[in-house]
């Protein structure tokens, strides 16, 4: 359980922690869910990036979950097993590799991202898709850190 000495209602540690600010959590859910519900970016591509960002942060809660929309769209668990070394593993498309590179640079230092690194993603996703992709990365990065900061436990850990 998180180091916070209080919690609200919820199915897992993330929900019980965030539920201490219920209005904020409700607004967060609305924003964070829109990328999946409205299919603003391909859900499998987005899930690969979400989990890669979680790997970089060691965010155990995020790593313990799978987004339903990505599962429905054919997310491949065998591929996820290779995600930590995607750059030297087979089976990732050119767009997936470009998006993963972009996601990693976003987490580490977006100011150091080159136009050459960004271009394949922008060309493939278009302006609207790129904006959605970057906004989703902000959620993955920010709330992966949120989970590490508060020591949010993975799904299935005892409360």
């Amino acid at each position: 359980m998180s180091w916070l000495p209080a919690s609200g209602p919820g199915r897992d540690d993330f929900e019980r922690s965030f539920a201490l600010r219920p209005e904020l959590f409700a607004a967060w859910r609305e924003f964070a869910g829109i990328f999946w519900e409205k299919r603003l970016v391909d859900p499998v591509l987005l899930e690969l990036c979400r989990l890669r960002v979680a790997q970089l942060h060691g965010a155990r809660h995020a790593l313990s979950t799978r987004t339903p929309e990505a599962l429905q769209a054919g997310l491949d668990e065998a591929k996820l097993a290779r995600l930590a070394e995607w750059w030297k593993q087979p089976g990732f498309t050119a767009l997936e590799r470009a998006a993963l590179r972009f996601a990693e640079q976003f987490v580490l230092d977006p100011g150091a991202m080159s136009d050459e690194e960004a271009r394949p993603v922008i060309e493939a996703l278009g302006d609207a898709g790129t904006v959605a992709f970057i906004e989703a990365l902000a959620i993955f990065d920010g709330f992966g850190r949120f989970c590490r900061m508060l020591d949010v436990q993975p799904v299935g850990a005892s409360a």
Binding site: W3, L4, P5, A6, S7, S17, F18, L20, R21, E23, L24, A27, W28, E30, F31, I34, F35, K38, L40, H57, F106, P110, G111, M113, D115, A118, I122, D127, A128, T130, V131, A132, I134, E135, L137, A138, I139, D141, G142, F143, R145, F146, R148, M149, L150, D151
Partner: protein
């Protein structure tokens, strides 16, 4: 100033946010503004503390837009420009209060490669903030950092901008022209 990677939509209004590249996703933008307004104006943590964390983030991520903005609510609560000037490396020896320095240390850990406070920092945070305030501060940091990184990633960032005092984000949005 670098060239923007994503240009604003052609049919754009005069509002600096909705008229920016973010306007390509109007539904997501509206949801974000609701989230941000809830954080700032319907929270349990004082606005000056959130502003302190936001400005520290802006300076570390190096977002010229975020660095230039000051929110009115925090100013009204007493966060002066003289204090803002001290939100820089070396703040530990500044005249900022112990509580303010604590927030900056927490922010620095959040933004680091190992975003995990040690036992001493956790204990200090719990001595100064309620659990609900800690959730709000940590979620705020996630949004501040995320928004700064979005702005940097989209390109077209000027090198610097003058300080610009703005109304504190709120939800529902204030009426246009009001």
């Amino acid at each position: 100033m670098s060239a923007p990677r994503v240009r604003p939509p052609k049919q754009r209004g005069s509002d600096p946010i909705t008229g920016s590249a973010l306007g390509h996703q109007p539904e997501a933008l509206l949801a974000f503004l609701k989230l941000y307004g809830t954080l700032w104006s319907h929270g349990v943590l004082d606005q000056a503390t959130k502003e302190l964390a936001r400005i520290r983030n802006a300076r570390i991520v190096n977002c010229a837009i975020c660095k230039s903005i000051r929110f009115e609510g925090a100013r009204k609560e007493g966060l002066s420009e003289a204090q803002v000037e001290q939100i820089r490396d070396g703040y530990e020896t500044s005249a900022l209060s112990p509580r303010q320095k604590l927030v900056l240390r927490y922010t620095d850990v959040f933004l680091s490669g190992e975003p995990e406070p040690d036992a001493a920092l956790r204990s200090e945070m719990l001595a100064h903030f309620t659990p609900a305030e800690l959730v709000e501060l940590t979620a705020g940091l996630a949004l501040f950092m995320g928004f700064s990184k979005i702005a940097v990633s989209l390109g077209g960032m000027p090198d610097s901008l003058p300080v610009n005092v703005q109304p504190t984000p709120d939800w529902p949005l204030p009426a246009a022209g009001g």
